[in-house]
């Protein structure tokens, strides 16, 4: 049994097929949710946003031109929704988040070294990256997006994608160094 392709599903959704919508949702909702959650850092907001993302798909399926993969299109919509939600947050909330980030134990090298778990330190540092750096690392490593696809999601040129990835990894190396893990590169 061969599964129906995403592109075929989108065509059916455009003609009002709810079953196709359910299949597309079942296929992609977890990854879209995780992408959004990493940006907004709040599970309740992330859940609301994925409903909005897929509702947009339902409404705009007929505008999908097939120039990119459906999963890339979904992530681009999700990112737009997440950034809009972040902009709606009050300055007060952002201040609280900034304070929480400062208190992050990954800033304390001794505590981190005591754990002697490089993987855990690495994950903590990945969480401490800025949203811009977090999203590009997630897109490349977790969502398996090519340079062209990342450019499509982030709406930036391909060369900027490579540069931003380099700086994201550089920042990661700095955080690791602060946590006592010296890698010597980048």
């Amino acid at each position: 049994m061969q599964a129906t392709s995403d592109e075929v599903l989108i065509g059916r959704i455009a003609s009002g097929d709810r079953l196709a919508m359910q299949v597309l949702y079942a296929r992609h909702h977890v990854r879209v949710y995780r992408f959004v959650l990493r940006l907004v850092s709040d599970p309740t907001t992330a859940e609301e946003l994925i409903s909005e993302v897929f509702l947009d798909v339902w409404r705009q399926a007929n505008r999908f031109e097939g120039r990119s993969a459906v999963s890339t299109w979904l992530l681009a919509i999700a990112r737009f929704k997440a950034l809009s939600a972040l902009r709606r947050r009050t300055d007060e909330e952002l201040d609280e988040e900034a304070a929480a980030a400062i208190e992050d134990p990954s800033d304390d090298p001794e505590v981190s070294l005591q754990k002697k778990d490089k993987g855990e330190i690495l994950r903590k540092c990945l969480t401490a990256l800025s949203p811009d750096h977090r999203e590009i690392i997630d897109l490349v490593y977790y969502h398996e997006k090519s340079i062209e696809e990342v450019a499509e999601v982030l709406k930036i040129p391909e060369n900027t994608v490579k540069t931003r990835m380099f700086y994201a990894r550089k920042k990661l190396a700095e955080l690791l160094k602060a946590a006592g893990v010296e890698r010597g590169w980048p």
């Binding site: 059916r12 003609s15 009002g16 097929d17 196709a20 859940e47 509702l55 994950r123 969480t127 980048p186």
Partner: protein, 224 residues
């Protein structure tokens, strides 16, 4: 592989591609360029290993984020229901609200303890039902159901409480089985185990074989 690339710009270009090479998303041509560079530049190879670590931990981090609750899906389809009807070529009857209500109502306190697995199975079931239905869609305004009730072989199954969704998925794939119904009282699911109706002795032998597959099945029996 002890020499370093002499050409600095070339090395820089290759370095930039390493994250995508680790993720396997480069074109064949670029991937080959990177492979050749890695083979002759030990420092580049060391850096590639660091990138592979990052990739592994990024996946680990994302996989630990969990999944949205069923509420997100309920909310979405409630909104879709509320939308003004659009031209529908193929409208297939599937009352998601009723299905979800039934699903949640079917969760006994015992099954609630395994709610994560149950929820994941529910999604798998939904996908199985919908994908299974869609493959026979003719592309016209009708919807053909090729298979008739009773022309396949089914079983009722209960998975061991500690079984992970990954184990269940692996089991289903390995045995070409599909979840087609459930959960029912006692945490039972109906699965299709063969594409055709097997004679009783063959069906019994198949279920016996499945029973010995490992520790993930706590109960399995034939079903109509």
């Amino acid at each position: 592989m002890n020499t370093m690339l002499n050409n600095a710009p070339e090395r820089e270009t290759i370095e930039e591609l390493l994250p995508w090479h680790a993720a396997g998303t480069l074109s064949r041509r670029d991937a080959q360029r990177v492979e050749e560079a890695l083979a002759r530049d030990s420092e580049l190879a060391r850096r590639f290993e660091l990138i592979r670590e990052e990739l592994g931990e990024t996946i680990h981090l994302n996989e630990s984020l969990g999944a949205p609750s069923a509420r997100a899906m309920e909310k979405l389809f409630a909104k879709i229901e509320a939308e003004a009807p659009v031209a529908r070529k193929a409208s297939v009857s599937f009352n998601l609200g009723a299905w979800l209500s039934g699903f949640v109502a079917s969760l006994s306190p015992r099954t609630l303890a395994y709610s994560a697995t149950s929820a994941a199975l529910a999604i798998m079931l939904l996908a199985a039902v919908t994908v299974g239905s869609l493959v026979d869609y003719s592309g016209q305004d009708n919807f053909k159901t090729v298979s008739l009730p009773g022309d396949k072989t089914y079983a009722m199954i209960r998975f061991a409480p500690e079984t992970s969704v990954a184990d269940i998925t692996k089991f289903l794939e390995a045995n070409k089985a599909t979840v087609v119904g459930g959960p029912r009282p006692g945490g039972m699911y109906k699965i299709q185990v063969a594409e055709s109706k097997l004679p009783k002795d063959q069906a019994d032998a198949l279920l016996k074989k499945l029973q010995t597959e490992g520790k993930i099945i706590s109960f399995i029996a034939p079903s109509d």
